[in-house]
């Protein structure tokens, strides 16, 4: 959260929308998200599959295919980047802003060694010699605590375990000391013990390097572990934002409440696992009212007619609902 007006946000997003025009329909994947991220802060975007999380992150990097129409503003340390020419934008990617992916195996080139893949990023951004870049790659591999890093540098992706690959991916993403890291479900493909190690590593590296992180997940437990702030995404909109503690302890939006009570953590505390009835709306045919209304247990007639108000229960928090009191969770 930006409390002082004179702090420049590491990244600020204003009313970002993404539409995909396909032959059959217009898909409204992202419908106006805004946030500001201070240096060193972690914002988690929490939401179900298909809510537009990955599309949002790709939009921030200018990585969407040509059939996507993007509006809104993305400011990096105060500079608008979406309107930059492609060559300038390419300089930022992997440099000032970098990204880690859900499936490191799919995100690494299978016929290049890990060392080469890290080094070429460094060469591209800093114009140093291949030798110096390889040395940086080695440092980064040690930094993310890959055992016998010098040997691993010469490994191909298929020669490493999933956890090791994700560490290598993190080493790659951090090689040029980005000020903003975008992490798209970086631990989803890993088993639980490795997940925790990677989360701890990310948090530690973030503190050391002072990066701002946008972390995407559908896992409430992971969100609780890593976030300073949480934004709950539904059908391409943030329906609730606030400090992690506030959002995850006293949810105000019925969707957040549903999400929290449908997690396994709830069950482990001896409660019945509740799922939200119904399924998310089609992004090609969004209703005029609240997109969650058809599934909401607190629905009122006004909800289906028009967009719910944006309420600010207290500074730094936001909820798109007709009410802004914390809901009693069944937990």
């Amino acid at each position: 959260m930006l409390d002082a007006a004179n702090t420049v946000a590491a990244m600020e997003v204003r009313d970002l929308t993404v539409r995909f025009r396909t032959d059959e329909a217009d898909v409204a994947a992202v419908n106006g998200i805004s946030f500001a991220l201070a240096p060193g802060e972690t914002l988690t975007i929490l939401g179900e599959s298909g809510s537009g999380k990955s599309v949002s992150l790709k939009a921030l990097m200018g990585l969407l295919p040509r059939q996507a129409t993007i509006t809104g503003k993305v400011l990096l340390k105060g500079t608008e980047i979406l309107s930059l020419p492609p060559s300038q934008l390419a300089k930022l990617r992997g440099g000032a802003v970098s990204m880690i992916f859900q499936e490191p195996m799919a995100a690494l080139d299978p016929v290049y060694t890990i060392g080469e893949q890290i080094a070429e990023t460094v060469v591209q951004h800093e114009g140093v010699s291949h030798r110096a870049a390889m040395k940086r790659a080695l440092e980064m591999m040690e930094h993310v605590r890959i055992p016998s890093a010098a040997r691993r540098l010469k490994n191909y992706p298929h020669e490493m375990s999933g956890g090791m690959r994700q560490r290598a991916m993190i080493a790659l993403a951090l090689a040029c000391s980005p000020s903003v890291l975008l992490a798209d479900e970086p631990t989803t493909a890993l088993d639980v013990t490795v997940q925790i190690q990677i989360l701890l590593l990310l948090r530690q590296l973030q503190e050391e390097m002072g990066m701002a992180v946008v972390f995407v997940t559908h896992d409430v437990g992971v969100a609780a572990e890593i976030s300073d702030r949480v934004a709950v995404m539904y059908a391409g909109r943030f329906v609730e934002t606030g400090s992690a503690r506030d959002v995850l302890r006293s949810a105000r939006h019925p969707y957040t409440a549903g999400l929290l009570s449908s997690t396994v953590q709830g069950v482990m505390r001896g409660k019945v696992l509740e799922t939200i009835p119904g399924s998310p709306p089609s992004l090609a045919h969004l209703p005029p009212g609240c997109a969650f209304a058809p599934r909401c247990s607190h629905v009122a007639p006004v909800c289906v007619q028009s967009q719910p108000p944006v309420l600010v229960p207290h500074p730094g928090a936001m909820v798109r609902c007709i009410q802004d009191k914390p809901l009693h969770l069944p937990v």
Binding site: A90, A106, V111, Y112, E120, T121, Y156
Partner: protein, 312 residues
């Protein structure tokens, strides 16, 4: 890597032995007794028996095989049954003539194929893609002897642009002898161009749809470094196909060499079959098969050097 190469080399040996067995067997599979072909029909039984001893046909079959193989290994395939010149000398000349065509056809065929394939993929779905895909499809689907005949008609019969028969006299200057190669090379390169072009296009499209290519842009790589990644990923199957195609070119096309009257290995094979010249046939097939196996061996090793997942 070295281990992989050695293992592949070891695997090539049984393949080659198998080929040699089949080739050796040709003498015995071919209808008629090989001696009968050498001797006039009125030859006396004694003379025939003598001939049998002279050619070693009196020995058990496996002894005959090893003797033959031992000679073949040092290039001694004996004399041609047709004109009594050493088989090896004929073969070297014919192969040399075919290699000239094969190298040129491979160079241009593969070169155009790669360029057309890359451009098709780059302009996927747009008019350059449609045009280049039509060209490569024509390359694989037009019968190439038909193309050869059309080219001869056009360039040599209707107009007097290019020579279309033989390979020119040795006394001619180099550039004039080169003219004799143009029509056969153009005809021969059509298929390699077509198959390589189509494979390159398909491979590149497949690779750019994979997630890691998006991740390369996310690292901030610009167009050329990304292209390098795409090419390295696309290369192994393309190389394999090139090896195969080059092998076919080395074999020399019987049809093309006949149309252009080019004295190459395809032509030699054709003549040997008609003349029932078994030693020439055996030598040609064995040498070509060896080339083919070695070529594929080389391709395997290069592939494994590019893509570590192939090394097992």
């Amino acid at each position: 890597m070295l281990l992989f190469s050695l293992r592949r080399l070891m695997l090539a040996i049984p393949t080659l032995l198998g080929v040699s067995l089949v080739v050796f067997g040709l003498v015995h599979i071919a209808p008629g007794n090989p001696i009968d072909m050498l001797m006039p029909p009125e030859a006396s039984p004694e003379a025939i028996a003598q001939m049998k001893i002279a050619y070693g046909f009196d020995k058990p079959l496996y002894i005959q095989y090893f003797l033959w193989l031992g000679h073949a290994a040092v290039g001694q395939f004996g004399l041609s049954v047709f004109n009594a010149t050493p088989v090896w000398d004929q073969l070297v000349v014919a192969l040399g003539n075919t290699v000239q065509l094969a190298l040129l056809a491979a160079f241009f065929g593969f070169g155009f194929g790669i360029v057309l394939g890359l451009l098709s993929a780059a302009y996927y779905g747009k008019w350059p893609d449609k045009l280049f895909s039509a060209i490569t499809t024509a390359g694989v689907s037009l019968p190439h002897y038909w193309c050869a005949i059309v080219l001869v008609m056009l360039c040599a019969v209707l107009h007097d642009w290019l020579p279309a028969q033989g390979m020119g006299d040795d006394s001619l200057p180099f550039y004039e002898r080169l003219q004799y190669m143009i029509l056969p090379v153009v005809t021969l390169m059509l298929i390699p161009m077509g198959v390589i072009g189509r494979l390159v296009r398909a491979r590149v499209l497949d690779i750019i749809s994979q997630d890691f290519v998006g991740a390369l842009s996310a690292k901030g790589l610009t167009r050329w470094p990304v292209l390098r990644h795409i090419i390295k990923n696309a290369a192994p199957p393309v190389l394999a196909l090139m090896g195969l195609q080059f092998g076919y070119l080395l074999g020399g096309s019987i049809l093309i060499e006949t149309v252009f009257n080019w004295p190459g290995s395809g032509n030699l094979l054709n003549l040997a079959i008609f003349r029932r010249d078994i030693p020439v046939l055996q030598a040609t097939i064995l040498v070509l098969a060896t080339f083919f196996v070695l070529l594929n061996l080389a391709v395997d090793v290069i592939q494994a050097a590019i893509d570590p997942r192939i090394r097992r």
